[in-house]
């Protein structure tokens, strides 16, 4: 007994020491993050995750917003380098536009962590696996359809063809769905623009053309909700309908899962965790450690009330439960990536 107790103490001491050692490694003083679109809920929560981790590690984090404009992204990164940040974290507005920026960072010896999108010539990127996220949600949707929708799956995909990430999500969803329901079909393949009013307008027109669907899939929460609102505006009942959202970026999906009978599945992507992981990656780069090219941030499909496992929600704000999210095991590698799309 005594022996095992002392063992426990000893191991605890070792752990504590190693933790201290980890903290004792050189911390960057200042990290600059150029985000893609700071006013979007997704990035809001990425930033929250970063701030929380940076505070823990005693790092000063500064955030700039490109507001969907590559030119502005380049300017903001220039500003940061002029200011002398130790590491840059960048969410590329798109994959091609930040190549010059990486070039400049290299000539200034500033390490760069990318969040979200890969770029030619990058050192490392923290991102979820989009295809896998859609796929696992598709499998769950298949199970639901088998049980509650008489085994039929006719999908309206409120997609966004312009980004490889969102195309992968839609593909993954259909592929996952077909593992359970082989004759699942995509009735509508729409460009909802990723924003709710556009998704609503496009879905309305599509449903007017053909309303014989029973699953609405959205590549983000705005898209799935836009699709569902179009369904409701057409005066249809939600009986026999399943709505699947992606992202779990803000409060909208929690509200929908509580109030919309058809909104049963959410492919959660935990933006907070992605921010958290990006800061860790920045610290490693600062210390010259080896890092994989793609650091995968975990995702998980949530059925019904599953979201309560990962989030506290008091009606106005949500708070991530770090223990639950940090316990999720991300895959080593994605099943499919944007490189597979280009083939």
């Amino acid at each position: 007994m005594n022996w095992s107790k002392s063992m426990l103490f000893a191991s605890a001491a070792v752990l504590a020491l190693s933790a201290a050692a980890a903290h004792a490694e050189n911390m960057p003083k200042r990290i600059g993050y150029v985000t893609n679109y700071a006013t979007h809920e997704w990035y809001q929560n990425v930033i929250k995750g970063m701030q929380s981790r940076a505070k823990e590690l005693g790092i000063e984090l500064e955030v700039q917003d490109a507001n969907l404009d590559v030119a502005k992204e380049v300017s903001a990164a220039e500003d940061f380098m002029a200011k002398g940040v130790d590491v840059l974290i960048i969410t590329p507005v798109n994959e091609e536009g930040v190549v010059p920026l990486l070039r400049q960072a290299k000539s200034n010896n500033v390490p760069v962590v990318l969040e979200g999108n890969p770029v030619k010539g990058m050192t490392t990127m923290v991102a979820i696996c989009d295809y896998d996220t859609g796929y696992t949600a598709g499998v769950e949707a298949g199970k639901y359809a088998k049980e509650k929708l008489e085994g039929k799956a006719k999908v309206m995909n409120v997609g966004l063809p312009l980004l490889s990430a969102t195309v992968l999500r839609s593909q993954g969803f259909m592929d996952g769905l077909k593992t359970i329901i082989p004759d699942a079909v995509m009735v509508h393949d729409l460009d909802g623009g990723g924003n709710p009013d556009r998704a609503l307008e496009v879905s309305s027109a599509a449903l007017a053309k053909n309303a014989d669907i029973n699953i609405i899939y959205g590549i983000n929460d705005s898209s799935s909700l836009g699709g569902l609102q179009a369904w409701k505006a057409a005066g249809k009942s939600q009986d026999g309908l399943l709505t699947v959202g992606t992202g779990g970026e803000g409060l909208a999906f929690i509200n929908a899962m509580q109030n919309e009978p058809s909104y049963r599945i959410e492919a959660a992507m935990f933006p907070e965790k992605e921010g958290y992981t990006a800061i860790d990656a920045a610290v490693k780069l600062f210390n010259g450690e080896e890092v994989p090219e793609h650091i995968v941030s975990p995702t998980a499909p949530m059925n019904g009330d599953d979201w309560k496992k990962f989030y506290d929600y008091d009606g106005t704000t949500r708070k991530i439960k770090w223990d639950a999210v940090n316990a999720l095991q991300p895959p080593e590698k994605c099943m499919k990536t944007s490189a597979d799309l280009k083939k």
């Binding site: 006013t39 979007h40 809920e41 809001q44 460009d191 924003n195 709710p196 009013d197 609503l200 307008e201 496009v202 309305s204 027109a205 599509a206 449903l207 007017a208 053309k209 053909n210 309303a211 705005s222 909700l225 836009g226 609102q229 409701k232 505006a233 057409a234 005066g235 803000g250 409060l251 909208a252 509200n255 109030n259 009606g315």
Partner: protein, 329 residues
């Protein structure tokens, strides 16, 4: 120049625009008819009840704001802040609904806010003499920033009032409620422009502000009025949109101002002021939204939704000019 001279000077103009179908409306009517025929031949679902309702509902939002905007442009001013205001109004209306559970209060708050934005624009333009294009770009930026200071995320529907849902998704008989609202606002604005002294003054201010001022009418008041009316229209549209979306979306309304202005211009209202009609605006809205819908129904590349209206706007304006020249010569 006294007032009788003034009304006389604008009389021939009104005569041309006042015919049942002015020249530009005729062109537009033909374009609309050709479009409808072409699309329905290629895709018979175009004439389904569900699709017509979908088109009308989409038209409603644009038409409501375009009704105010037509008046404003007739007075030779413009408002680019309507898209940003639309988003803000929805968020404020939803927030007030959430805290008061009263549809009346929510609507009043939305109207008060949107009216105040119109008033602000109007005062900046009429009192501070800032060009309205610039003034409302400024307001647009302030509203875009302001809405995110107000709420970081979409304002969710926590009140679950049935009457609120009806606002966007409800029907009066077979007609969607937003369409009824749009029709009412349109009729009111059209009647004001055509049959009232106020309407005549609005045309006169746009045609020749100096003459109006010299004749003792307070031209600035008229412009202010048009700004506030445009604002109030945005208030109504914003609430309908937030009902349709079931949330107040701070990201809504991007590019909405350009759609509205494009519809008004397409309808033959002159950006120089003094000329235009609401009937034209109605046709302009219909043409743009039928094109939008047709492109989706035909399964064409949605990027055409930018190219085609661009061509139509230039073409329609040009045809109008050619017709006018032919009439003169």
């Amino acid at each position: 120049m006294d007032m009788s001279e003034l009304t006389q000077s604008s009389a021939p103009r009104r005569f041309i625009g006042g015919q049942l179908l002015g020249s530009s409306q005729l062109v537009l009517g033909v374009i609309l008819a050709v479009l409808c025929m072409a699309i329905s031949i290629a895709a018979p679902q175009f004439y389904s009840e569900a699709n017509i309702i979908a088109i009308l509902r989409q038209c409603a939002l644009v038409l409501i704001v375009a009704s105010g905007m037509t008046m404003l442009i007739i007075t030779a001013e413009v408002d680019l802040s309507v898209g940003a205001s639309l988003a803000f109004v929805g968020c404020i209306g939803m927030a007030v609904l959430n805290s008061t559970h009263s549809l009346t209060l929510g609507l009043l708050a939305a109207l008060a806010f949107a009216g105040a934005v119109g008033l602000f624009n109007g005062l900046v333009v009429t009192r501070l003499k800032v060009n309205s294009l610039i003034a409302t770009i400024g307001t647009m930026m302030m509203l875009q920033g302001g809405v995110y200071l107000f709420t970081r995320e979409a304002v969710q529907n926590h009140h679950r009032l049935a009457s609120f849902t009806v606002l966007g998704a409800g029907y009066l008989g077979a007609i969607p409620l937003p369409v009824v609202v749009a029709a009412l606002i349109f009729a009111l604005a059209a009647a004001t422009l055509r049959f009232t002294t106020l309407g005549r003054y609005l045309y006169a201010v746009g045609a020749n502000e100096r003459a109006v001022r010299l004749s003792g009418v307070r031209s600035q008041r008229l412009k202010l009025f048009a700004f506030v009316v445009t604002g109030l229209c945005v208030g109504v549209a914003g609430m309908i949109l937030s009902s349709l979306m079931n949330a107040g979306q701070p990201t809504a309304g991007r590019g909405f101002e350009l759609t509205v202005i494009a519809a008004v211009i397409l309808g033959g209202t002159s950006l120089l002021g003094g000329r235009g009609s609401l009937l034209g605006t109605l046709l302009g809205v219909l043409v743009l939204k039928v094109i939008d819908n047709g492109i989706i129904i035909l399964g064409w590349n949605q990027d055409l939704q930018m190219v085609v209206p661009g061509i139509v706007i230039i073409l329609a304006t040009y045809l109008d000019i050619v017709r006018n020249r032919a009439n003169v010569g």
